[in-house]
Amino acid sequence: MPQYGSGLFVSIAHLIRGLFGGTTVTADVVMTVINSLIIWALIALAALSLILLERKVAGWMQLRTGPNRLGPRGWFQTVADAMKLLGKEDIFPAAADKWVFGLAPMFVIGLSVMVMAVIPYGKGMVPVDLNVGIFYLLAVSALTTIPFFMAGWGSNNKFALLGGMRAVAQMISYEIPLVFSLLGVVMITQTFKMSAIVNAQSHVWFILLQPLGFVVYTIAATAETNRAPFDLVEGESELTAGAFTEYTGMRWALFFLGEYANLFIVSAVAATVFLGGWQGPFLPGWIWFAIKVLFMVFLFLWFRWTFPRLRVDQLMHFGWKVLLPLSVANILLTGVGIYIYQLIYPAIGG
């Protein structure tokens, strides 16, 4: 396995592997444990920093400074908030469906961990490089509907129920354009493997080949993460806090964590699939990856702090009647494009 210039983390991983005898089962198990610990840490880190970033960006856009009290320029604010949430009372509503209500937040975070396992963070830095990587990612993130529904139902609260219903309806409608928008890239690369998709972009980023796919993906991903202008699940102006109305303390914080982990995931997928992943000159791959993810995150934050919210039927209308045809058209165009390309360069494709 040539790992030239692959950077710090890969070397560390090799070192640890070497300690346990290279490719033995023990080494595999140890690496899996370490990888999952890293992913957990990454989720916590991503959520904490993204929450702060969100508040800072929101502040700047609104002519405020954002959090500015704790630590240098307020950079420790979310840490303090997390501590506060940890210390809060965990309230179960009397009429709640205890098991469903209690398990929902854990599923949110569990699914995020499952998804984050297949993202290529840098050259050779894919915790699990599945053959069906991107498809696995979509399949698992489709399951994120369930915890939202569980939260909405389990709370036994009318606002929460409406929020849960919206979550389900919204995710079902946006899952399909999301999948289809990524299919164009899959058609070009002929693989679902995340690392192969990144490798295929060493010359040209797929945002240039798939601009329509990128646009559709960005919109669908905004809806998938329940962020404005598609934040109907929370919809605070009509549903107070939607599906999370009854949640308190750490359980609520887990939802929050899940939301930002999801934000990170969709940004990471966009960076991987459309922006060339960790490819880039001079800097190590994982730094390039971080830069691209931050760019996507900023895009989502920017949308959130500029746009009002769509109505639920407009959201459905937009998803089914605008995005879906667009994404199908994208697939068609890509197919035609590949066909023409193959006529010119018969070598490519299978």
Partner: protein, 364 residues
């Protein structure tokens, strides 16, 4: 047709989007609202009864607390009513100052209306932009009278003279205002999502508006050109040249855009007033103890939220025998059960926001 179970939801009295303590009992079929029952009165403080135990002057600060976003307009309405009862002639300069401050207050109030309107549709940032500009107006008020929300500024027979530094600050504000309105248009009016949420939503037909006696921008949004400043001028409004903007469809967007255009008209009025304001005293000769003769009086003014009128019965003592307030919100809110059904839950919030209610005025 697949039927779903009807869901009864209490929006309010504690709810982020009911602008205070307003309660809507909504019945939902899925997301579609089938009926709305509006409940008011959670903020009832007996404002009318309080007047009976306060002297005429002492009641002025209470009118601040009717429509707290337009306190100077309330003050003016009340003060002019008492002046009408007593037959007091207010000095020219005071009249002009009243126009300036009344219109500044209208601007501030409309800024809140469009800002919170955007907030209720989920757009948080425009809300803070409007509040940034409102802050400038409040600074002007603070400079003049010392209050920001509850100004208690006009007095029976006059108004308080603003300090020297007020005039340059006012000019600076007026200079910045067109840019700000341009910004509102950019971030709210022109936004396709905002338009999708408001155009054609919650149409109040002119007939309905007339039957319920809706007033203010909500009435004008329905296309009826009725503005007391033009149709029954009080103070010296007849001397100013301004348009009465009206909407076409009577939907939420029209009510919004009428407010923005009224802001532009208000700026025009302030410009004219600043140009024409004469020198002179700002207080008429009024006895220290206000004791109107026996009689009754009715006076109405155009407030940012519709007509505000006072009806005072005097028994010749220093306190009103009976005082009755007709607030715009209380009437405007009554269209909700007629307009809301058939729309989605989020639309009801949009309609409520476009009505621009303020509960203290409604419940009194």
């Amino acid at each position: 047709m697949i039927k779903t179970q009807e869901l009864e939801i209490n929006l309010g009295p504690q709810h982020p989007s009911t602008h205070g303590v307003f309660r809507m009992i909504t019945k939902l079929d899925g997301e579609t609202v089938t009926s709305v029952e509006s409940k008011v009165g959670y903020l009832h403080r007996g404002m009318e009864k309080l007047a009976e135990s306060r002297t005429y002057t002492q009641y002025i600060p209470y009118t601040d607390r009717l429509d707290y976003l337009a306190s100077i307009n309330n003050n003016l309405g009340y003060v002019q009513t008492v002046e009408k009862l007593m037959g007091v002639e207010v000095p020219e300069r005071a009249e002009y100052l009243r126009i300036i401050f009344g219109e500044l207050q209208r601007l501030a109030s409309h800024m809140v209306a469009i800002g919170t309107g955007s907030l209720d549709l989920g757009g948080f940032t425009p809300f803070l932009y409007t509040f940034r500009d409102r802050e400038k107006i409040l600074d002007l008020f603070e400079m003049t009278i010392g209050g920001r929300m509850t100004m208690n500024m006009p007095r029976i027979g006059g108004i308080i003279e603003p300090p020297e530094e007020f005039w340059p600050a006012l000019n600076k504000f007026l200079g910045e205002m067109p840019g700000s309105i341009e910004e509102y248009h950019g971030i709210i009016t022109g936004n396709e999502i905002f338009q999708a949420r408001t155009v054609g939503v919650g149409i109040i037909s002119p007939e309905l508006a007339e039957q319920i006696a809706v007033t203010g921008p909500n009435l004008r949004g329905s296309g009826i050109k009725w503005d007391l400043r033009k149709n029954a001028p009080y103070g010296i409004y007849d001397r100013f040249d301004f348009e009465v903007p009206v909407g076409v469809n009577g939907d939420c967007f029209d009510r919004y855009i009428v407010r923005v255009r009224e802001m532009e008209e208000s700026i025009k009025i302030i410009h004219q007033a600043v140009r024409d304001i004469p020198e002179g005293p700002t207080f008429a000769k009024v006895p220290k103890l206000i004791k109107p003769s026996v009689g009754e009086v009715y006076h109405r003014v155009e407030n940012p939220r519709g007509e505000l009128s006072f009806y005072i019965v005097s028994d010749g003592s220093t306190k009103p025998y009976r005082l009755r307030i007709r607030g715009g919100t209380f009437v405007n809110i009554q269209v909700l059960p007629y307009v809301a059904p058939g729309w989605k839950l989020a639309d009801v919030i949009a309609i409520l926001a476009s009505l621009d209610i303020i509960l203290p005025e409604c419940d009194r």
